[in-house]
Subunit: 554 residues, 2 copies
C-alpha cells in the first residue's frame, strides 16, 4: 500500500477528553474515528488489524470444531420475552418496531436467536454436541462510554453457543473453550488471567472471565498468592474471621447519640471498634421495593452480590427523603424495628460479632448490644461483601487485588435458555430433553484496544507481528528520480515476495515520516535513502527494540 | 468437514410458499434458514459460499485501489436530515432512539456516514481521488418480501463511495468500477447486462444497474437489437412516432357518451383509434396533492418517470371518491377544465396526435377534438411512458424486453451529498470546493441467490467452482471397519493436499447420501465403496456434466 494513497492521515492534535492510551494512539495513527460517542468507524489500517484478530479467533475456533454461522441483526423481541431477558437486560437493550408493527431487539448477545434456530430442527443425541459461533455487531445502550474501544455502544463480538446432551459433555467443551481462548489471546501477545465471574443478565450458574492485567482496566479481581484461586470482585469468596463471637449477649439498650452521620462518628462517639458497628445501606430496586443491606462496619457492600441475594434486576441507593419516608433517619438506620415493608438482607459477617451497635431509626438515637437472630431477623442472609486486598482465601492463602481488561468470557448456561424456550433433543431413551448449553464471547474491538494498552511507548503503538496491519513499513527518503525509481523497485520486489508492505512514498520531511511510522507501529521499518542506496542497502529498524542493521537489497 | 458433525441437515419437506428455486434449494440444502420474514440465518454451508463471494468482491475492489473501512450500524439521524433523505427514503428507513434521546437510522446505504467521515479531515486535491468501501448489514423496511434472499429486509451489502476533485476524474473511476463489477460477476459465473437506471432515493443524475438475465427477476429492461442501448424500464428512452399530427385542429365538441369506463369502451363507442384517445390517471402524492397523468391512449404510464416529473416522493392511485371530490367522474376524467388544484402532467406523446377524444369530467359526457396547448395547458410535460417490446430506440433500432435480477449498481452522485453536507476539499487554486462523488453497490446475499437461480437442475444446486462451499464431496459407502479406515485415510490425504472437502461419513443409505450431495451441489464428487476400494480407486463424478471416471487412490 502506497501511503500517499492511504485514507486517512495521522492526526496531531487530540482533545483533552482522550485519556486512554489505546484511544489516543488508535485515533491519532488513523485506525479508528468516532462517529457519535461510543460508535466508531474502522479506517483502512484499523480494518487490517481487526481482520487479523478475527482470523486468529476464527482459526482457533475452527480448530476446536466450532462452526461459523450468522444471525440477523434484528432479533424478534418475542424471543427475548420467552426468557424474560427484556426485563433483566434492562436499559441496555435497544428495541425497534418495523412498519408492520413487529418488534425487534438489537442484540447484545444471541442466546435466544441460537436456541430458536436449533429448535427449528429435530435433533437427536447423535447430532450432539455442536458449537456454533458468529462474528456480529452487538449493541449496548450504555449510559456512559469510556475512551476509545474499551466501553462502547456498538462493537464486533465473536459469540459462540454450544449444545450438549448433558452437563458432563458440556464440561468437556467448557474446558476446550478455556484452552482455545488462552491460545487465541496468546497468539496476539496477550497473557490472560482467568477469573471466576458473575453471569449477569446472560444467566446460568457460573462463568469465567479472561482478563488482561492492566492498570487502566475496569475489571477488579482477587487472586490468591498460591495461585489456586482467582475471582472477579463480584463473586470473590473469602474467610470471614470471627471477632468477639465468644462474648455473651448483653441486653439491647437504646442510648442518646448526638453524633455525626458517618461510621467514624459512631466509632468516636461510642469508643467501640469499627467492626462492631453495623453498617446499614438502604436501596430501592426496579420494582420500588426497599432493600436494607446490613454488614459488619469494617466491610463494604458489593452491589452485584446484593442484587443476586435480593433477586433484584436493578438497584439504586435510597434518597434521604426515602429513608425518612419509611420512618427512619439518615445515619441512624437500623434493622431493629424497621418498617415491615423493608426487605432486610444481612451479610453473614454479622454472625462473626456479638453485641453490635448502630442507629435506632431516629435522629441522635443509637442501639447498643444488637444481636442478629435475637433483635432482628433478616429476610435473606449470605455474602454481600466487597473483597479486599489482604483478605484470606478459603484455603488460607492471602488474596491480592488485580485489575485488568476483560477480553473474553465463557459461561455455563445449563438449561436456562433451552427449558424456557422449550428447545429439546431426543435422547438415547427416546425422551425429549432440554439441551445443556454453554456460551463463549470475545469482544473483538476491545481485544484490539487491549493489545495497544499493552504494547506501546511514548512515540506510539508497537504491534505484535501477528496482528500488525503490515509487516514492513518501507520509508523512502529519496527525492530524485533515480532514487524514487529504486525505492519503487524495492517496494515491488517485497510485494512480489508476498510481504505486506506500507510504502511511505509521500513527499515529506524524514522527521515527519519517522514520527508517523513510530505512531502507526509496524514491527519492522525499512529505510531507503540516497545514502543507503550508495551501499546497495536498506536500513532495517526494529520498532520494539530500536535495533538497527543494514541489509543488502540486491 | 465431516458431514456427521455439520450443523445442520438437509430438509425434505418445503412449504408451498417457497416458489423461487434459490429459496427452495438454499433452504433444503441447509445454506440458510428464515428467522422472521425477510431476515435469514446463514448456516455453516451458507457462510462458506458467502465468504467466497465476499473474497472475490474484496480482491477485485482492492485491485481497483479501493480501501476497506467500516461504519457503525447506527447512523446519526441528523446526518440523514442534512440531505433530506429522512423524507425521500420514506417508509423503508428504520429509526431508533437511544436512552439519551439520540435518534439513529438503520442504514439502507451509507452516503451520509461516509461524507461525514471524510469532512472530519482537511483534504486537499492531492489526497484525491479515493474510493472507500465496506461490507455491512443493510436494512430496508419492505412492506412485502420475496422468496429467499432476493428481496429481504436485512442483507449484507458491499457499498463503495468515491471522492473526486471534478467530474472528469469521477468518470475515470466510474468506468473502472464498471469493469471491476463485470469482472467480479464473471468470476462467479454470472454474465451481466449493464442498463441505464433510475437513481431513486440515492440521488444524483445517472446510474447503471448490473442485471443477470433470469425469468424470475424483478428488473425489466429494454435493450436495442443493435446492442448500443440498454435501459431499465424506469428510464428507457425511445422514439414517439407521430400519428395524425398533420391533421387540422377541429373545434372542441362535447357529446353525450353512454359508454363503459374502460379505454376499449371509448374506442368502441366513438369508432376512433385507441391512440387518439387520451388516457387520464389520477394520482395523489405523499403531501396529498392531486396529480393527473395524461398520455396517449395506446401507451401506459411508468410511475417512476411520473414521480420524477411531478417531483413527488410517493404516489398512489386516487380512489373513485377522490375523483368525484374534485368534481370529475371515474372513466370520464379530462384535463380540460379540471379543478384548478389538480397538477397536470402530460406525456409528450400527446404532441404526436391531433383532435384527441376522452372524458368531459362528467358521467356519460365525452369531449371530441381535444388539442393540447389549445384546450388545456399541462403544468409539466415530458416522458412518462412505460417502454414496450418492439418500440423503436432513439437511433432507430428495435427495443427488446429483457428481465433479470439486479445484482449491482453504480451511481453518479456528483455534488448531491457533498454540497448539502458542506463537505469540501481545498483545490489547486486554494479554494474550498465540494467533492464530486460516486457510489457503487453489490448485494452480497442477492448475488449468492442469483448464482443458484442460474446454476441448478431438478436435483439441486450446481455451484460454480469459484464460490462452491467445498471443492470435493467425498462420499463413503463403506460400512466395515477396514473400509471406513480407508475412507478416513483418503479424507485426511485430500485435506493434507490443501483440498477443501466435505466428507459424508454418516451411517446412511447410498441413495440418501447421493440425494443430499446433488442438493448441496459441490462441483466434484468422490465415491469410495468396497467395490472401488477393490480396484484401489475412487469414482469421480462431475456434478454438472454427470460424467463419471475412476481414479487411482494410491
Amino acid at each position: 500500500m502506497r501511503q500517499s494513497k492511504l485514507f486517512t492521515k495521522t492526526v496531531k492534535e487530540i482533545s483533552s477528553d482522550i485519556k486512554m492510551i489505546s484511544h489516543k494512539y488508535l485515533y491519532q495513527a488513523g485506525f479508528i474515528r468516532e462517529s457519535t460517542a461510543g460508535r466508531y468507524y474502522f479506517l483502512p489500517l484499523g480494518i487490517r488489524v481487526r481482520d487479523r484478530v478475527i482470523k486468529i479467533i476464527e482459526e482457533e475456533m475452527n480448530k476446536a470444531g466450532a462452526l461459523q454461522i450468522i444471525t440477523p441483526v434484528l432479533h424478534p423481541l418475542e424471543l427475548w420475552k420467552e426468557t424474560s431477558r427484556t426485563e433483566s437486560a434492562g436499559f441496555e437493550l435497544m428495541t425497534i418496531k418495523d412498519r408492520n408493527g413487529s418488534s425487534f431487539a438489537l442484540g447484545g448477545t444471541a442466546e435466544e436467536m441460537m436456541v430458536d434456530l436449533v429448535r427449528k430442527y429435530n435433533m437427536s443425541y447423535k447430532d450432539l454436541p455442536f458449537n456454533i459461533y458468529q462474528f456480529s455487531q452487538k449493541f449496548r445502550d450504555e449510559m456512559r462510554v469510556r475512551g476509545g474501544l474499551l466501553r462502547v455502544r456498538e462493537f464486533l463480538m465473536k459469540d459462540a453457543y454450544s449444545f450438549h446432551a448433558d452437563e458432563e459433555d458440556f464440561k468437556i467443551e467448557y474446558e476446550k473453550m478455556w484452552h482455545t481462548y488462552t491460545k487465541i489471546f496468546e497468539r496476539m501477545g496477550l497473557k490472560t488471567v482467568v477469573v471466576e465471574a458473575d453471569n449477569g443478565y446472560i444467566g446460568g450458574e457460573y462463568s469465567h472471565e479472561f482478563v488482561v492485567e492492566c492498570d487502566s482496566g475496569e475489571s477488579r479481581f482477587l487472586i490468591s498468592e498460591d495461585g489456586t484461586y482467582a475471582a472477579h470482585e463480584d463473586v470473590a469468596k473469602f474467610k470471614k474471621i470471627n471477632k468477639n463471637i465468644d462474648e455473651e449477649e448483653k441486653d439491647l439498650q437504646e442510648v442518646e447519640a448526638k453524633r455525626g452521620n458517618s461510621m467514624e462518628d459512631g466509632v468516636e462517639y461510642h469508643h467501640l471498634p469499627l467492626w462492631q458497628q453495623i453498617k446499614d445501606v438502604l436501596f430501592v430496586d426496579d420494582k420500588g421495593k426497599y432493600i436494607l443491606a446490613i454488614i459488619r462496619g469494617d466491610l463494604d457492600v458489593n452491589e452485584i452480590k446484593l442484587k443476586h441475594l435480593s433477586e433484584a434486576n436493578e438497584l439504586r441507593m435510597a434518597t434521604e427523603d426515602e429513608v425518612r419516608a419509611i420512618g427512619s433517619e439518615p445515619g441512624f438506620i437500623s434493622p431493629v424495628n424497621i418498617d415491615k415493608k423493608v426487605f432486610i438482607v444481612a451479610d453473614d459477617s454479622l454472625r462473626t460479632i456479638k453485641n453490635a451497635y448502630g442507629g435506632a431509626n431516629k435522629k441522635y438515637g443509637d442501639l447498643l448490644n444488637i444481636n442478629i437472630g435475637r433483635d432482628f431477623t433478616p429476610h435473606k442472609e449470605g455474602d454481600i461483601v466487597m473483597a479486599q486486598d489482604g483478605f484470606e482465601s478459603e484455603n488460607g492463602s492471602v488474596l491480592k487485588e488485580g485489575r485488568g481488561i476483560e477480553v473474553g468470557n465463557i459461561f455455563q448456561l445449563g438449561e436456562h435458555y433451552s427449558s424456557r424456550m422449550k428447545a429439546n433433543f431426543t435422547d438415547k431413551d427416546g425422551k425429549e430433553k432440554p439441551y445443556y448449553m454453554g456460551c463463549y464471547g470475545i469482544g473483538v474491538d476491545r481485544t484490539l484496544a487491549t493489545i495497544v494498552e499493552k504494547f506501546y511507548d511514548d512515540k506510539g503503538i508497537i504491534w505484535p507481528e501477528t496482528v500488525a496491519p503490515y509487516q514492513i513499513h518501507l520509508i523512502s527518503l529519496c527525492k530524485d528520480e533515480e532514487g524514487i525509481k529504486k525505492a519503487d523497485e524495492l517496494y515491488n520486489k517485497l510485494i512480489s515476495e508476498g510481504k505486506e508492505v506500507l510504502y511511505d512514498d509521500r513527499d515529506l520531511r524524514a522527521g515527519e515520516k519517522f514520527a508517523d511510522s513510530d505512531l502507526i507501529g509496524i514491527p519492522t521499518r525499512y529505510i531507503v535513502s540516497p545514502k543507503t542506496l550508495e551501499q546497495g542497502s536498506v536500513e532495517v529498524k526494529d520498532r520494539k527494540s530500536g535495533e538497527v542493521k543494514m541489509e543488502k537489497i540486491v
